[in-house]
Symmetry: C2
Subunit: 278 residues, 2 copies
């Protein structure tokens, strides 16, 4: 059992929690909590860490788990990103998706016996692509929430501009509630080129825009569709907005000038879901 | 100018930022930032505080403002709830709403020349009541986001159980983006009684529930309607759910078990908004 907070493995975990660069170098990310641990794809699970008291209470969970490292509660707290750690975290290898994966909508990891039988409309994801395109999104909670809702709404993939917040940031990971394992995503290295590629593949690009000409629910998303969502305060850049096939907006009562980015994205995704079910 | 962080006014502001009890005792709340300051109802604005450097850059904003207190940047930082304070905050008197106000949908404060002319569907709020009923909601960001979206979607009022997070918590206030001034809300002192009262007024109660029999978009919300939203992890209590006229659910693809509470509430509010426009 590791008890010292200056142990090299402890130092390493702290670094991985804090530094995007270090996560990238090692090609891993850290997930915390029993739900996220249970849902981690087994072939990408590199190392499991458990606190002394969590292991004592749940010994059967970790039978046969290898490699498994036990930490004293104090050492565990020093590597956790949460105020009240559950007592389990693990290192997971990253997975790379290509632009094509975003069009197909299911990560190979999730085509497994693991798919919930109660899911309402599994079939959606097999239909026309539905893509979220995020430009310069900065808030970790917003990105995580968009991933979680995207899986729920049947989005086939997410494309991010390079200046978005790191998807492997612990706060993002936590708020995805496991969707980060299952929704294909990629950071675009050639933004304009990739947007053009999607258009040439027949994907219509809809820019969520305060100056949209049409209400979001006046358009059909049954065909291949993508929603462009911009930065929390500044919205989409003009260059990106100009590539859109149409500007859409969510009507707003009262004195509201805009909605939270994750809320706006969710309203759009579930409108597409509604139409595709109907 | 106040320069000391142990000045009694500074201590008082710190207390008001941190303690719900103190805010209640003094019947005030603290708002930060230029947008929230500008939108504060003038008749409820008690005291304005500005940092030395913000005042130097924006002297005209504060011409004739009384009472106005200038703080050194260091003193201002010590009273701010944000990491990078804008440099303006103010004390605002609370406003009490009755259950009836939630049915009518507009705070007297907002029936003013101040209403944005570009609002898409002002008329909604004058139609049938649309109420959000929140039980034991705990996350400040979720509550603030629900208020913001509620104003946008034309919700007429929000009823909260007494064990919800304090609506005057600085994080809630910030994420409302000003809607806290305009959306009528009240903490119910008699939960079952108030739910019964709403029902007797003809409001249909729809419980967002993972076991809902109908999809949320299979029901008409054109009549007087209320959505019941429960705690982030446990959902609605059984006693509350039993008072609902119908259970509804948002369909979910993949392995998603639930949506973020603010996202679920927003999808429901905008479905009602969509139907009421149509």
């Amino acid at each position: 059992m590791i008890t010292s907070t200056s142990n090299p493995q402890v130092k390493q975990l702290q670094l991985l929690q804090k530094k995007a660069k270090e996560r990238e170098l090692q090609d891993v990310f850290v997930v915390e909590g029993i739900k996220m641990y249970r849902e981690a794809p087994k072939d990408r699970l590199i190392h499991t860490y458990v606190s002394e008291s969590f292991l004592r209470k749940n010994p059967s969970v970790f039978e046969g788990v290898d490699p498994l490292t036990e930490l004293s509660d104090r050492a565990f707290e020093s590597v956790s990103d949460t105020k009240t750690p559950q007592g389990v975290l693990c290192l997971v290898r990253r997975r790379r998706y290509a632009l094509n994966d975003l069009l197909e909508g299911r990560s190979p990891d999730t085509i497994s016996e693991n798919i919930s039988e109660t899911a309402d409309n599994q079939r959606n994801a097999a239909g026309a692509p539905l893509i979220m395109i995020l430009e310069n999104l900065q808030d970790p909670g917003n990105l995580g929430t968009i991933l979680r809702t995207a899986e729920g709404a049947g989005v086939t993939g997410i494309m991010l501009s390079r200046d978005c917040v790191d998807i492997y940031n612990p706060k993002v990971i936590r708020s995805t509630m496991g969707s980060v394992y299952r929704v294909p995503f990629c950071y675009s290295q050639d933004w304009q080129g990739d947007l053009d590629r999607l258009k040439r593949r027949g994907v219509r690009l809809y820019a969520a825009h305060l100056k949209g000409e049409k209400f979001y629910d006046e358009i059909s998303y049954r065909g291949s569709s993508a929603f462009l969502i911009g930065n929390e305060s500044r919205g989409l850049t003009q260059e990106t907005a100009e590539l859109a096939d149409a500007y859409i907006r969510i009507p707003m009562c009262g004195q509201v000038e805009s909605l939270n980015a994750a809320v706006a994205a969710s309203v759009l995704m579930y409108e597409a879901n509604r139409q595709r079910r109907g």
